[in-house]
Amino acid sequence: MADIDARPGRVRPAPENFLTAEQIAAVKDGRRDFLRKAFLAAAAAMAAPTAVRAASEGDPAILNLPPWSTSLGLPVAANPYGMPSRYERGLRRRESPGLTRVGGSSVAFTPLQGLFGIITPSGLHFERHHQGWHDVDPSKHRLMINGLVRTNAVFTMDDLMRLPSVSRIHFIECGANTGMEWGNVAVPTVQYSHGMLSCSEFTGVPLKEILDMCGADYEKGRYVLAEGADGSSMTRTIPMELIESGEVFVAYGMNGEMLRPENGYPLRLVVPGVQGVSWVKWLRRIEVGDKPWATKDEAVHYIDLMPDGLHRQYTSVQECKSVITTPSGGQLLLDKGFYNISGMAWSGRGRITRVDVSTDGGINWREARLETPVLSKAVTRFNIGWVWDGKPAILQSRAEDETGHVQPSYGQLRKVRGTRSIYHNNAIQSWKVVESGEVSNVQVL
């Protein structure tokens, strides 16, 4: 290592990531200047092997030419399938400790705190499996259509990929997203509070085309059952109305490539606006029927417990919701001054029409800028400038969709649904900022 270290201007990870115990204490005490000190110390260390230039001369990152400016870089195809920079390694899917006890029936959350725009990188798409995942051999995968159809039919992947295709951008959110927060704050960051949300461009064939080919009985058959090829053979009931509208499609593509195995390779159902559990992965069968099925995930799980002890069954739509991702829980603001408050908004009922942002816990609001594209049943990115004066603040966002539905507060939602529902929590999220710059998860009624 020594010979490498001796090279001038050796690349070191950003010093802020390697805080000492004293520096951590400094954060907790509300002192913020440690970051600047840490930076200066690291800059000095970086330049140590050569002559240390006086700080007054300028930024060592400019004055000492880095190796990427003074040496030969790597050849093409050094990584035949490209990966993110090593400096991005912190942004990965993570489990929430203690949430589940079996990895095959668990959740890995998307690091929303690090995402830009509206598309979730495929490798960071959240995972939820019911009995583990497999890398299914696409040449052995089949889609069967049966039930109230003139001809029970079988399609290979070759068949499906020959049919006319559509590509559409949609969000997918687990019905249990933010479910840990129904009663009280339980998790520190937006990854764990909202990270069962992803948004991708999916490519595939409208299910209506396929059902038409099979001669579906649309008069009697008002429901379809979607079934997966995994061990759990996950099943969910979908209303025929969503299929007739042309919205529901069987997808093999995601963000320009095939679906990832964790997301249902080689075929999954896309049910825009509806909770993720209905987007059945490794889709092997569609049955047309005249009644809903009350499957395990419609009769034991994904049912919302109401205050009167009744469970709501067949709750499927993901209602209007938004969250600020920067700054968000578990982060530190570096200093006073300008920040670009940025977040995501989405609705299972259509397009987002506006997002308002408050920095005082919901007393006053300002309308945020919606970035294009603004698509139906897709994530919309919003941004708004904010000059932090170093005083305590509470950041909130509130979305409205094209049906006129405005995202509710925790107080409003709990009045109707209580705190035991688990599913479909679309309440306004609050992030508290204190003088030290530390941002944390709080709930405001």
């Binding site: 990531n17 990895g103 704050v185 520190p188 061990g231 759990s232 395990k296 009769a299 649904r417």
Partner: protein, 353 residues
């Protein structure tokens, strides 16, 4: 017209005349399914028992099957909360009368068990048949499913101990399901036709109406809940879960993550493998869950030269009796190399860090 074109036309006519006439819009794509194919996959059972296979099974047989296939995760009496939420418990004879589980109303039972929630017995049959046992789904014959379901229903006192459950009498059981009247579809979150037109729900009417207020919307801000101190570090070091550049940094909390290539990383990956293969469902590191703890196993086999081979064989073939009556099922889904790696890790103390 060339011969080639004529040939294409003839082929087109042939395709249209073939049995798959429904597919004429996209010639050459898709084919009719055979009856055997449909029955191999069409295994779903609806609440009206459409799709229910013929068969029967009694509570005693169900108990034997339960011990062999189910107890390792769910506990002997479906009570275990170690791996999955409990299946049985929380229901009363009164609930069986009313069809409403009282504990869901007053919150008097600590968990929500399967029997407290499930309104339809068909759901249980369907799910056991398609997805159980955990590591060998779809391996149970219909009679086995009836027997296991009979045992499970007996745990909730829904059927007596001498009951023989069958396709003939399962509708009687439906009339005794403790939460059969516990569901409502009165909500706006079904995206299809509403109940008023023969569908489900109220047609999309939201529960809550918020308004766009922009100024002086309330007098004061009350924080109802904040992250408890004990939860600050529960998700690891947040500094390492954020980008090292940009508007913000992650707050340093918890323990740092082990570096690539370190011993700790290797141990962490063995632990990850144990989790991935479902081992941690039944075994803890220090103490047992339904099977023995890894350190207990290492202790027992310490100093035995053939310990690794012996344990690998046990993992592969399953076993019973060394640590009690609950059997360990054969772990056929774990590759030999992975078993060796896991056994080595266990014998070296199953260190996570």
């Amino acid at each position: 017209m060339s011969r080639f074109c004529k040939t294409l036309i003839v082929l087109g006519i042939l395709a249209a005349a073939a049995p798959a006439a429904a597919f004429d819009r996209y010639p050459g794509i898709g084919r009719a399914a055979t009856e055997a194919e449909v029955s191999a996959w069409d295994i779903d059972v609806r609440p009206d028992f459409t799709g229910l296979p013929k068969g029967s099974g009694d509570v005693d047989r169900g108990m034997e099957l339960w011990e062999a296939h189910c107890a390792s995760c769910h506990g002997s009496f479906g009570e275990s909360n170690e791996v999955f939420t409990p299946i049985a418990g929380g229901t009363t004879l009164q609930d069986i009368e009313t069809g409403r589980v009282a504990a869901l109303i007053d919150g008097s039972f600590p968990q929500r068990t399967t029997l407290m929630k499930v309104p339809t017995v068909s759901t249980l049959f369907d799910y056991i048949q398609r997805a159980m046992p955990w590591t060998a789904p779809k391996s149970l014959a219909p009679d086995d499913v009836y027997a296991i379901l009979a045992y499970l229903l007996n745990l909730g006192e829904i059927v007596p101990a001498d009951y023989v459950l069958s396709d003939e009498n399962i509708h009687e059981v439906q009339a005794r399901m403790p939460n059969r009247n516990g569901m409502t579809t009165e909500h706006g979150m079904w995206p299809g036709a509403p109940a008023s037109s023969g569908g489900i729900g109220n047609g999309g009417k939201p529960d809550v109406v918020n308004v766009v207020c922009m100024k002086d919307c309330k007098e004061k801000v009350e924080i109802a809940s904040a992250l408890p101190d004990y939860a600050q570090d529960a998700h690891g070091n947040l500094a390492e879960q954020n980008r090292p550049v940009g508007q913000t940094r992650g707050k340093p909390t918890g323990a740092p993550e082990p570096a690539e290539g370190s011993d700790a990383r290797a141990a962490a990956s063995a632990l990850a493998l144990a989790k991935e293969k479902g081992c941690m469902a039944c075994h803890g590191v220090e103490k047992g869950i339904v099977g023995p703890g890894y350190n207990e196993i290492a202790q027992k086999y310490r100093g035995q030269a053939d310990a690794a081979a012996k344990l690998a064989a046990k993992v592969k073939a399953g076993g019973q009796g060394v640590w009690g009556a609950v059997p360990m099922p054969p772990q056929g889904h774990v590759a030999d190399g992975d078993i060796e790696r896991l056994v080595e890790w266990i014998l070296q103390g199953a260190k996570a860090q």
